[in-house]
C-alpha cells in the first residue's frame, strides 16, 4: 500500500520534471553556498587552532622581554631553578617561513602539535612542517612533512632551531597553567622580563572572527534565497497534487499515512538536493579558499592552509540546515493537506494569490523589523547587534517590497490609456503575490550587491589615499643591528636623504596590546598625514612630547578621542592630540615624539628608517654598495603600495564572488518561479488571446512584465542597498575592524548593476515567455472546453 501510494505521489514529479529540477537545484544551490562558506570557515579555524597549538598564542600565559625580543637562556634556567614552570620558545624567520623552536619536554600539554615521531624530534636535527611550507623552506636540515603543523610555520627542537638561527637565546617563555606551591616574584628573579596573560595576546581567532561572521552572513543570505525557490516549488507541487491526495483518500488511504509518506518524500528529495549542494559547496570553497587565505594573511597575519579538507562540521551542518529548511517549507503545505476536507475541490486554486490578511501581516512584520533595525541603529552595541541590525533591515525591506510595488502598479494601471496597457498593469499587479518571493530574493541580491559594492569602492578610495599619506617615504630600510642602524642614519644623512627613524615597541595602552611608535616629527608627517580629528598644532605637541597620536582602532576600542588622556608608560600620561585613520591593521598604535620615546625606552634603538629622496635608485645603490645593506632589507615604496593594494583586492575577491553567486541564485529563483507559474498562467491568458491578442504579443508582454518587476525592484533596492552600505561602513566596520569609513556613491556602478539585474530577469523570463508564445492554440482553447 505504501508503495502504491508513494508511486502515485511520486508520479507527480515524473510529469513535472521542471518542478523536480527546481526543488533539487534550489536546495542544492542554497546548500552549496552555505556549506561552501562553512567549509572555508572550518578550514580557517582549523588553521588557527593549529597555529594556536603550535605557537601557544592566546592559550598560555607567556613571559616576554620587557624590551626587545630576546630572553637570555640563563634567565630561563634561573626561573626553572626557582620553581617557575616555564618552557622556552625561540622564534625566527628563514625566508618566508616562521621557524619555531621549543622544548617538547617542558612545554605545556597541547602545545606544539604534530611532531611526527616524537622520539626523533629530540634525537635528530630536523625540522617539521606541512608539505607546502616544507617545499618553501631552504635549510640544510632534513624537513619532515607533517600535515598537522600550521601553514607557514616550521617547528623543531629548541636546540636545532637555535643552531639554525645562529642564536643562543630565547624569544619567549610559555608558562605552564599549573604551577607549584611557592615561587618567588618574577620581578625579583628577572627584572627585565614581563608576564603577559594569555588573554592579552592578540588572538587570531578573535581578530578574524568578524571576517568569518561576514562570510557566514553571506552564506545565510544565499541559503535564504535558495530556500525561497524550494518553498515556492513545494508549495506549487503540493497544491497541484490536491487531486491525487483527494483520490487516494477517497480510495481509503488514511490521512496520517499520506502525510507521513509525503514527509518521507520531501526528506528523500531534500537529502538528494542537499547532497548535491555539499558537493557543489566543496567546489565553491575550493575555488575561493586561496583568496581567503591571502586575505587573512594580509589583513591579520593569520596563516590558512590553501587546501580544503572534507570536514564533517561543515558538510554535516550543510545537510542538516538544508533538510530542516526543506521540511520547514513543506510543513505549512502538509498542514494544509492534513486539514483539507475529504471532498474539497481538487482543482488547484491560484495558490499564489495572497489574501489581504496575509498582506497585512506581512506589512506589520516588515514595519516591526524595520523598527527593530532603527532601534538597533540608535542603541545597538557590538558586532552581533550590528549583524542583527543588518538582518532586520534586509528582511524588513524584503517583506516591504510587495507593499511598495503594489501602489506603483496601481498608479500605472490608473494612468494606462489603452485596454491592453490597462490589462497589462492589472495583470502585473495580480502576478505580484506569486512572484513576490522571487522578487524579494532579487531585492536581497541587488541590495547586497549595491551595499557591498559601495563599501568596497568607498574602502578602496579611502585606502588608496591613505596609502599615499602613510607611505610617503620613497624607500624603507631595515637595519640588521644597532651598528648598522647608526651607519645607515649617518650615511643617509650624508647622502642628502631625509631620514625618518622609526622606533617601536610592543606595549599595553588603555588595557590593550598596542605598538608604541617614536617618530621624528618633520614635514613628511605634518604634510602627508590626514587626521580624523585633531587639536590645533597636534604635531608640535607630539614633537614636544606633550601629546600623542593614536590610531582609530585604539581610540574606538578604548572609548577615547581627541582630548582624552592615555598612559603610555607607568608614570607618563598624555593627552591625545589627534586620531589617525589606520586601515588594514587590526592592532592599536600610539605615536609619540622621538625624544619622549628615547627617554621612555632608552634600550630600544631604531631599526627601521623611512628615507625621503628624489632619487631612490641612487640611494639604493649607496645603501647596498657603500653601507652593505642587504637587498632584502630595502623596501621600495611603490612595491609596498602595490602589495598593499593586492592584499586589498584579494580581500574583496571573495566578497565579489559571493555577490555574483547570490545574484545568480536570485535569477534562478526568478526563473523557477516563472516556470512553475507558467502552467497557472494559461487560463489567465487564454481569454486575452481569444479576444484578439496574438501569442507573440502576449509573450512579449510577459517579458516586459518581468522587466517592470526587475526595474521596480532595482529602484527599491537602491535605497536598501545604500542603507546596507551605511550599516556596513558605519557600524559593522567599526565593530569588526575598529575603523569607520566615509561613504562615497558610485552611480555608474549602480546603473551597471541595475542593467545586470534586468538582464538577469530577462534571462530568467525569456524561456517561460518563449514557451508561452509556442503554446498551441489547442492548449489555450482547452481552457474553455467542456472536457476540462
Amino acid at each position: 500500500m505504501n508503495r502504491a501510494c508513494l508511486a502515485a505521489l511520486l508520479s507527480h514529479w515524473h510529469w513535472n520534471p521542471l518542478q523536480l529540477f527546481a526543488f533539487l537545484a534550489g536546495l542544492a544551490l542554497a546548500t552549496a553556498l552555505w556549506s561552501g562558506v562553512q567549509a572555508i570557515n572550518a578550514e580557517a579555524r582549523a588553521s588557527y587552532d593549529a597555529a594556536a597549538a603550535t605557537l601557544g598564542e592566546g592559550q598560555f600565559d607567556q613571559i616576554v622581554p620587557g624590551a626587545g625580543d630576546r630572553i637570555a637562556q640563563a634567565d630561563f634556567v634561573a626561573l626553572r631553578r626557582a620553581g617557575w614552570l616555564v618552557s622556552p620558545v625561540i622564534e625566527g624567520r628563514v625566508g618566508d617561513v616562521r621557524v619555531l623552536g621549543f622544548d617538547p619536554l617542558s612545554s605545556p600539554a597541547g602545545f606544539g602539535v604534530g611532531q611526527g615521531d616524537p622520539g626523533a624530534f629530540l634525537a635528530e636535527g630536523q625540522l617539521f612542517a606541512n608539505a607546502e611550507t616544507a617545499a618553501a623552506l631552504e635549510v640544510d636540515l632534513p624537513v619532515v612533512v607533517d600535515p598537522g603543523i600550521a601553514p607557514g610555520i616550521a617547528v623543531g627542537d629548541i636546540g636545532v632551531v637555535q643552531r639554525l638561527l645562529g642564536r643562543e637565546d630565547l624569544s619567549r617563555l610559555l608558562v605552564q597553567p599549573v604551577q607549584p606551591m611557592e615561587r618567588p616574584v618574577l620581578s625579583d628573579l628577572a627584572p627585565g622580563l614581563r608576564l603577559q596573560a594569555a588573554n592579552q595576546t592578540a588572538d587570531v581567532g578573535e581578530l578574524t572572527g568578524s571576517f568569518h561572521l561576514n562570510l557566514t552572513a553571506f552564506g545565510l543570505l544565499s541559503f535564504a534565497v535558495g530556500l525561497f525557490i524550494v518553498y515556492s516549488t513545494i508549495g506549487l507541487a503540493f497544491e497541484q497534487r490536491r487531486g491525487v491526495v483527494r483520490t487516494l483518500r477517497a480510495l481509503g488511504v488514511a490521512l496520517p499515512r499520506l502525510v507521513v509518506l509525503m514527509l518521507v518524500e520531501v526528506l528523500v528529495l531534500a537529502l538528494i538536493g542537499a547532497g548535491l549542494g555539499v558537493v557543489l559547496g566543496y567546489v565553491v570553497a575550493a575555488a575561493l579558499l586561496p583568496d581567503v587565505a591571502v586575505t587573512l594573511r594580509g589583513l591579520y597575519g593569520a596563516e590558512v592552509a590553501g587546501t580544503l579538507q572534507f570536514r564533517v562540521s561543515w558538510w554535516g551542518s550543510g545537510l542538516a540546515i538544508a533538510v530542516l529548511g526543506a521540511l520547514a517549507a513543506a510543513g505549512a503545505r502538509l498542514w494544509q493537506i492534513a486539514r483539507m476536507p475529504l471532498l474539497a475541490s481538487a482543482r488547484p486554486r491560484a495558490w499564489a494569490m495572497t489574501s489581504g490578511r496575509v498582506q497585512n501581516v506581512q506589512g506589520a512584520l516588515a514595519l516591526l523589523l524595520l523598527a527593530v533595525a532603527a532601534v538597533l541603529t540608535l542603541a545597538g552595541q557590538g558586532l552581533v547587534a550590528g549583524f542583527a541590525l543588518l538582518g532586520c533591515f534586509l528582511i524588513g525591506a524584503a517583506l516591504a517590497l510587495p507593499l511598495v510595488v503594489r501602489p506603483v502598479l496601481e498608479r500605472a494601471e490608473r494612468g494606462a490609456t489603452t485596454p491592453v496597457a490597462r490589462w497589462f498593469w492589472a495583470d502585473t499587479r495580480q502576478q505580484l503575490p506569486g512572484l513576490s518571493l522571487a522578487l524579494m530574493a532579487l531585492l536581497l541580491a541587488i541590495s547586497a550587491n549595491i551595499g557591498v559594492a559601495t563599501m568596497v569602492s568607498s574602502f578602496r578610495l579611502t585606502f588608496v589615499s591613505f596609502l599615499d599619506q602613510r607611505l610617503a617615504p620613497e624607500l624603507y630600510v631595515e637595519a640588521a643591528s644597532a651598528e648598522e642602524a647608526a651607519a645607515i642614519e649617518s650615511g643617509m644623512a650624508a647622502a642628502g636623504a631625509d631620514v625618518l627613524p622609526l622606533l617601536a615597541i610592543e606595549t599595553q595602552v588603555a588595557g590593550q596590546p598596542a605598538r608604541l611608535f617614536g617618530v621624528r616629527v618633520g614635514p613628511t608627517y605634518r604634510e602627508s598625514w590626514v587626521f580624523l580629528d585633531q587639536v590645533l598644532d597636534a604635531w608640535n605637541e607630539v614633537a614636544a612630547g606633550q601629546a600623542v597620536v593614536t590610531n582609530e582602532q585604539l581610540a574606538r576600542r578604548a572609548g577615547l578621542w581627541v582630548g582624552d588622556s592615555v598612559s603610555v608608560a607607568p608614570d607618563v600620561t598624555l593627552p591625545i592630540a589627534a586620531v589617525v585613520a589606520d586601515y588594514g591593521n587590526p592592532r592599536g598604535q600610539v605615536i609619540v615624539g622621538e625624544d619622549l620615546f628615547r627617554n621612555l625606552h632608552p634600550e630600544v634603538s631604531p631599526r627601521q628608517f623611512g628615507l625621503r629622496t628624489d632619487d631612490p635608485g641612487a640611494l639604493r645603490d649607496v645603501l647596498r654598495t657603500e653601507l652593505g645593506v642587504a637587498e632584502s632589507a630595502l623596501i621600495d615604496q611603490r612595491a609596498l603600495k602595490a602589495f598593499s593594494l593586492e592584499v586589498f583586492e584579494r580581500t574583496f575577491t571573495v566578497t565579489a564572488a559571493l555577490n555574483v553567486l547570490t545574484l545568480a541564485v536570485a535569477g534562478f529563483a526568478m526563473l523557477m518561479s516563472l516556470l512553475t507559474l507558467a502552467d497557472l498562467r494559461v487560463p489567465q491568458l487564454a481569454p486575452v488571446w481569444a479576444l484578439g491578442l496574438t501569442r507573440r504579443r502576449i509573450g512579449q508582454l510577459e517579458l516586459l512584465r518581468t522587466v517592470v518587476f526587475a526595474v521596480v525592484t532595482c529602484l527599491f533596492a537602491l535605497p536598501v542597498g545604500l542603507g546596507l552600505a551605511w550599516v556596513l561602513l558605519a557600524i559593522i566596520n567599526v565593530e569588526a575592524f575598529g575603523w569607520r569609513l566615509p561613504m562615497f556613491l558610485f552611480p555608474a556602478d549602480y546603473a551597471r548593476l541595475g542593467v545586470y539585474a534586468v538582464l538577469a530577469a530577462i534571462a530568467a523570463a525569456a524561456w517561460p515567455a518563449w514557451r508561452l508564445m509556442r503554446t498551441p492554440p489547442n492548449a489555450l482553447l482547452k481552457v474553455f472546453a467542456h472536457e476540462r
Binding site: Q73, V77, S106
Partner: protein, 346 residues
C-alpha cells in the same frame, strides 16, 4: 603519544609494553652494559653514568607526625639517555625527569617534572653531592648528609637526612639480575637514613621524623619482553633488619624474583629467583583498575611470613606513565613499615 611518554618508556619498558609500544629501545646498541663483579668508585659512582641508558636516585621514606600519624614520602630523579655520552647545551642526549609524592592515610599527592640535560635545568654531581631538577634538590656535603626538597601545586616538603649505616649492595655485590635471560643492572642502596623535616600539606605544615631508603640503580638493558610489570618491596622491620624483594611478573603467569636480606648491621644475604614470594591477598579499586594492596610476603630462609598492607590503598601516581607507589605496614612473623611499588597494572 608525547615525547615524555617515549622518554619514560625507555626507562620502564614493561610500562611501554603495557601501553603497546613493544619493541621500542629493546637493544642496548652503543650503551655500556652492566657486567658481573662490579668495582664501584665512590663518591664518583653516586654521580651519573651517561654511557648507560637509564639511571635513578630513588628515595622513599616512612614518616610519623607529632600525633603519631604515619606518612610516606617519595623523591625520585630519573636519567634517561637518548644516546650514550654527554654533549653541550640542548644537544645533550640526557633527559631528566622526577617524581615527588606525599602519602597520608587519607590522601596522596604526586607530581612530576621533566628537564633536558646540558643547560642546567637538571643533573647530578657526585661531590659534593647534588641531584636537582628545577627547584627540587637532594644535596649535601656528602652522600651521608643530605637535604631534600620538592613541591607540587598542592604539597611541598623540606627534609634533612643523615645515614646511620653503610651502603648496601644488592644482588651479587651490586650486580642485580632482572630476568632468566640475564638482563641486569648495577644496584646499591642506602637504607639507613634518619630523616626529619616539614611536610606542607593543604591543611598546613606538619613536622615529621622517620626513616628513608635510597636506591641507586643504572643499566642499559630493558627488561625481558615477556615481563609485564613488577612488584617491589622495601621493608624495615622493628628488629632493625630490612628486606628488599621484587618480583617481575611474566606474561606466562610465572614470576622472576630476587631479594636481599639486610641485617641491622648492614650485612647482606642475596637470594636467587624463587626464594622471595609475594602473593596478592586483597585488591582495591584504584584509578579505574584493581590493584593488590594487601600482600602475603614470604622469605622462608629468614622465617619471614608477613602481611604487607598499604597505608593508603589509593597511593596512585597519576603521571605520564601511571603506577602505584606508597607506604606500607608489615605484620605477621615480622612487624614494621616499608614501601611498595607496583607497575604494569592495567
Amino acid at each position: 603519544m608525547s615525547v615524555r611518554t617515549i622518554v619514560f618508556v625507555l626507562i620502564w619498558p614493561f610500562a611501554a609494553f603495557a601501553q603497546g609500544f613493544a619493541g621500542l629501545g629493546t637493544d642496548a646498541e652503543g650503551f655500556a652494559v652492566p657486567q658481573p663483579d662490579p668495582q664501584f668508585d665512590f663518591p664518583a659512582d653516586h654521580g651519573p653514568h651517561p654511557d648507560y641508558r637509564i639511571e635513578w636516585w630513588y628515595l622513599t621514606a616512612n614518616l610519623e607526625g607529632p600525633d603519631g600519624t604515619p606518612y610516606g614520602l617519595q623523591w625520585t630523579l630519573f636519567r634517561s639517555a637518548l644516546a650514550p655520552g654527554e654533549d653541550e647545551g640542548w644537544q645533550s642526549p640526557q633527559v631528566w625527569f622526577a617524581h615527588a609524592a606525599v602519602t597520608t592515610p587519607e590522601a596522596h599527592f604526586a607530581t612530576e617534572r621533566f628537564a633536558r640535560g646540558g643547560v642546567g635545568m637538571a643533573g647530578v654531581e657526585a661531590s659534593p653531592f647534588r641531584a636537582w631538577i628545577d627547584e627540587w634538590a637532594m644535596e649535601g656535603p656528602d652522600f651521608d648528609t643530605l637535604s631534600l626538597r620538592a613541591q607540587g601545586p598542592d604539597f611541598a616538603y623540606v627534609m634533612e637526612m643523615r645515614a646511620e649505616g653503610p651502603l648496601v649492595f644488592q644482588g651479587e655485590g651490586g650486580f642485580s639480575v632482572k630476568s632468566a635471560e640475564g638482563q641486569a643492572s648495577y644496584y646499591y642502596s642506602q637504607p639507613f637514613y634518619r630523616i626529619e623535616g616539614t611536610l606542607v600539606l593543604p591543611e598546613g605544615p606538619v613536622e615529621v621524623t622517620g626513616a628513608a631508603w635510597l636506591d641507586r640503580e643504572w643499566s642499559s638493558q630493558p627488561l625481558s619482553e615477556n615481563q609485564s610489570g613488577w612488584d617491589w618491596f622495601s621493608l624495615s622491620f622493628d628488629s632493625g633488619d630490612k628486606l628488599m624483594g621484587f618480583q617481575l611478573r611474566q606474561r606466562d603467569g610465572t614470576r622472576y624474583s630476587a631479594s636481599t636480606w639486610i641485617g641491622a648491621d648492614g650485612a647482606t644475604v642475596a637470594y636467587p629467583d624463587g626464594a622471595f614470594v609475594a602473593e596478592p591477598v586483597a585488591e582495591s579499586a584504584v584509578a579505574g583498575r584493581d590493584v593488590p594492596t594487601r600482600w602475603r610476603v614470604r622469605l622462608p630462609d629468614q622465617g619471614v611470613d608477613a602481611e604487607v598492607e598499604a597505608l593508603n590503598p589509593q597511593s596512585w601516581m597519576p603521571l605520564t606513565i601511571p603506577y602505584w607507589e606508597g607506604p606500607v605496614t608489615v605484620s605477621g612473623s615480622h612487624a614494621g613499615v616499608g614501601y611498595l611499588e607496583m607497575t604494569g597494572y592495567e
